[in-house]
Amino acid sequence: MESAVGIIEPVILKEPLRKTPWDRLWEDKLARFSLLILGLLYFCAAFSDPLTPYSMDFNDADVANAPPSIVHWHNVQGKIVNPYVLQVERTFNHETYQQSYTELAGSGYPLQLFIKGEPYKIFGIIPGDIHLFGVQNPGHLFLLGSDINGRDNFSRLFYGAQKSLTIGFLGLFIAFPIGIIYGGMSGFVGGAVDNAMMRVAEAIMSIPSFYLLIGLAAMLPPEMTSSQRFALITVILSFIGWAGLARVVRGMVLSIREEEFVQAARAAGMPEFFNVIKHVLPQTASFIIVAATLQVPSFILSESGLSFIGLGIQQPDASWGNMLKAALDNANELVDQPWLLAPGFLIFITILCFNNVGDVLRDVLDPKMQGR
């Protein structure tokens, strides 16, 4: 997130003497495009409340499973007017089992910018009630239809992004410190302790990760609030990620300890521990940045996989994974309702962007690993 925000700032066009990695990342067209998209996604996630017409929990059970609202540009006379939506009514036909929404004649509800709607608090702090666009009640604006509870799919995509996009980073914040400390300790202490610690890490790596994931997710205590569940799912995801990293870090620590400059520092009387910290961390930094960028998408994918089998983020919270799952529960109807695949598309785009950035970042930070 920080990285993305940092990048959006205009880059000084003056050619610097020595290009920073960020500059070189920015120069790559694909990476720049990906970063912009990621920036946009994170911006949307952060400011979901003012950007969307409805809140995550808004529901009107009278308009459940509705198709996307039709936005009209022409009035009855065929003249172009302000875009508006019409009130809809639900009917059911016993013969065909068809539940349909028909538009009611009337003047309709014009789309309004900066409309006053449900109150919210951005980041839980900044209060407001202005939404970028929307329609007056009792009109409904469901750009991607509504779900089984009459909630707005479009708005929920934004709130889902909050979960899906942060879960990757939060996972990193847990997995990486553990991995680095564990690996660092193991490499630093060495001997039998190192051996034992590495066996445990290997054991975790040897259990097929998806089964480990569902096994752990199934362990979650049932009575949890949605935020606790979210936190624990994150912990579980990171549990899968740390062992591999620990091994790499350990290897690095071992080799760096033997490097001349570290030996020299040791000879100069610097305490061994600080010594390693001081020299190892910078050395491993670029590896970690690249690994982190590539780890985020795998966390997002894992969450969607967990959701697919019903162990991920639970309703009524929205995540892209559980929204996609809701769509796939009616897989046989997707042909008629392709808009339900939107969360899948967003997962795809996000991961694609992360992978692109990660690839380029690796080229930039670690020329030796170029292109891998």
Binding site: A203, I207, A331, G344, N356, Q370, G371
Partner: protein
């Protein structure tokens, strides 16, 4: 160290590892608050005594450490126990292993057949159209949730009526002659193999590309070029062989994935593989089945790694086994 001693040593090292894995897996599964008999309990027509009998049969009425002790004693005697369905776990695994093997072997084959040339092409034309195209293609493969991709292909199959909707054999499979049986299975394998190949393409293609680029920068390649050898000869006679060597390690990993199955893909595509079996097992807390499956996965991984090290030694005698 000679190869046989190296193998022996690694096997001895693997034993405590397997023990840790088994304890970890067992604890994890035991901690999951899932009752394997919940469906029986919720069934008004199943009597209490029937449930008691079932608990007795599955050993669920004993404390967890005792259950683990029973499990591991049986395992050491070569008995994997019975699944909650009453069937022998060994038989269950064997039934599915063949199917999963077919799927993974074909997927690995196609992945390598496509990825190696694609990696070479991308390295040779670095930064040009071919490279970019493969870059995008592999990124797309990596970025799609497998279950979604599988489902989209199913939709395609339904719309075109060209391919079967999941499964592995047609209804008339056993009335067909051998050739048509093979063709029938292949037809059913097209979608799952496509999914798995597409997803795993990226890793090997990129590795191949990177290796070849590394090699092409190497001293001896420059020398070869300087000698005036054609670019073709340089790449295909000198560089390629050296670039492929490091991929041997990956082959070891691929080997270990042969029997781990692809749970989600298999589930969406109704494929009768080990992955689907294990997934169903985890979700219903079928202890013996899941334990056997996880241990199988771990053993395969250990063998795979060992295999990779030994193979590497064979292709590159300079490497010492430690």
């Amino acid at each position: 160290m000679s190869v046989p001693i190296f193998i022996l040593k690694r096997i001895l090292q693997a034993l405590p590892l397997l023990f840790i894995i088994s304890v970890m897996s067992f604890t994890m599964l035991k901690l999951a608050p899932i009752d394997p008999l919940a469906h029986l309990r919720a069934n008004p027509s199943i009597s209490l005594s029937a449930i008691k009998a079932e608990e007795e049969r599955l050993g669920l009425n004993k404390p967890a450490p005792v259950q683990y002790a029973i499990w591991i004693t049986n395992l050491l005697q070569g008995d994997m126990g019975i699944s909650t369905s009453g069937a022998s776990v060994f038989v269950l695994l064997m039934q599915r292993a063949g199917n999963t093997l077919k799927l993974s072997a074909l997927s690995i084959l196609f992945t390598w057949l496509i990825a190696i040339p694609a990696g070479v092409a991308a390295a040779v034309d670095r930064g040009k159209f071919v490279d970019k195209m493969f870059g995008i293609l592999t990124s797309v493969g990596m970025s799609m949730p497998t279950f979604l991709f599988a489902l989209l292909l199913l939709m395609f199959a339904l719309a075109t009526h060209l391919l079967p909707i999941g499964g592995l054999t047609s209804s008339n499979y056993f009335e067909l002659d051998t050739i048509h049986q093979i063709l029938d299975e292949l037809k059913h394998l097209i979608i799952p193999v496509t999914v798995l190949t597409f997803v795993s393409l990226a890793g090997i293609q990129r590795q191949m590309r990177a290796n070849l680029l590394d090699v092409l920068r190497a001293e001896y390649v420059r020398t070869a070029r300087a000698k005036g050898l054609s670019e073709h000869t340089v790449i295909y006679h000198h560089a390629l062989r050296n670039a492929i060597n490091p991929l041997i390690t990956l082959l070891g990993f691929e080997f270990s994935s042969l029997l781990s199955g692809a749970a989600l893909t298999e589930t969406v595509l109704a494929y009768p593989g080990l992955g689907r079996l294990t997934l169903e097992g985890v979700l219903t807390k079928d202890m013996n089945l899941v334990m056997a499956s996880l241990m199988l996965g771990a053993v395969m991984l250990i063998i795979g790694n060992l295999l990779a090290d030994v193979l590497l030694k064979f292709v590159d005698p300079r490497i010492t086994l430690e």
